[in-house]
Amino acid sequence: MEYIIIIISAIFVNNIVLAQFLGICPFMGVSSKISTSAGMGGAVLFVMTISTIITYLIMHYILVPLGIEFLQTITYILVIAALVQMVEIILKKVSPALYQALGVFLPLITTNCTILGVAILVIQKDYNLLQSVVFAVATATGLAMAMVVFAGIREQLALVAIPKGMKGIPVALITAGLLAMAFMGFAGIV
């Protein structure tokens, strides 16, 4: 039950993009076509799960025993940057098909604040390892879902006449605002 609450809360109620404002860059930048948003979503899911496990282990088995938790930010960002590089290299070797699908998105992920954000959030929320993994998977699913839905809307939006000054970023932001309003409807669930 506890895990179901984590999942529903991370996907719908506290959706990482629309309620917590993490990962706005891929949300705005990549989501003009449904297929690319789904690819980006898959890459984030992959990296986020691995990075959450590794940063969790580093926090609890290296930083806490040594009493140097204040180095969290520096350690995490380095680990994530190295990890993304490694994932890219391994993926290329082991699964060229998966690399084809996710490869172009991987370099973008280092500066994606959702990865670092989730790694810090699971420590703040005091989750255990399994809860952290569930939270990471659910959060990435929420991000992927928001991106795909948003891409769908933007594909339609490209076909309608928009006032000149509102074209591009402004209308995308307002659309995202309306989408966020729709997601507020989930607020009472958990």
């Binding site: 309620a19 180095l71 930010t73 966020a180 309003m181």
Partner: protein, 204 residues
């Protein structure tokens, strides 16, 4: 470029939020009130100035291939400093028991590390320019960011809770609560950027 141009371009002409549309996550998340926007803006300015100076000083020593990780470590160090300073000095709850500035900004303080504005300036300006010019560039871009966040924060606070910097201006009956919630951030910023686009057109 003169020193004055280095400083002033970030304020309006190359404003990171309104013109370049960078650093959207903290922009949307921390602008629930004018004071939060200002706090986040100044924290970022501090990191941006120090990291720009440090990076312009060491840029010649770093091999080209590892420069990005090296820059990130420098930035992360200054972010840790800001995080610890803010935990020490702006961490007391308000008079009515509202959460402290440090708690309200929360996770977005460590996330200054992945703010693309900071790494962007390191790569685009500090690595190629002298320390003093980089300091001015960092200050200009940082204050431009702080200005944008404060403006957006003021607009949202005004519409959402009828006050600016905690000063009550509008009665309770005309407040639109949605503007201090998540959707309001997107909508308010969308209209602000549209307004800036319009102003830019009118100036040309």
């Amino acid at each position: 470029m003169t020193h004055r141009e280095n400083f002033s371009k970030g304020l309006m002409k190359e404003n990171p939020v309104f013109v370049l549309v960078l650093g959207m996550c903290p922009t949307l998340a921390t602008t629930t009130s004018a004071i939060n926007g200002l706090g986040m803006g100044l924290a970022t300015t501090f990191v941006l100035m120090l990291s720009n100076v440090a990076i312009s000083l060491i840029a010649g020593l770093i091999p080209d291939k590892v420069r990005i990780p090296a820059y990130i470590v420098v930035i992360a160090s200054f972010v840790t400093v800001v995080d610890m300073l803010m935990a020490a000095y702006v961490n007391s709850p308000g008079p009515n028991g509202e959460p402290s500035l440090y708690d309200q900004l929360g996770i977005f303080i460590p996330l200054i590390v992945v703010n693309c504005i900071v790494l962007g300036r390191a790569e685009a300006f500090a690595a190629k320019n002298k320390a003093f010019a980089s300091l001015l560039d960092g200050a200009g871009i940082g204050l431009g960011f702080a200005f944008a966040l404060t403006l957006l924060g003021s607009v949202r606070e005004m519409l959402g809770s009828g006050s600016v910097f905690g000063l009550q201006l509008l009665p309770q009956t005309v407040q639109i609560l949605i503007f201090v919630l998540a959707p309001g951030a997107f909508i308010a910023l969308g209209y602000l950027i549209a307004a800036v686009n319009k102003l830019k057109k009118a100036n040309q």
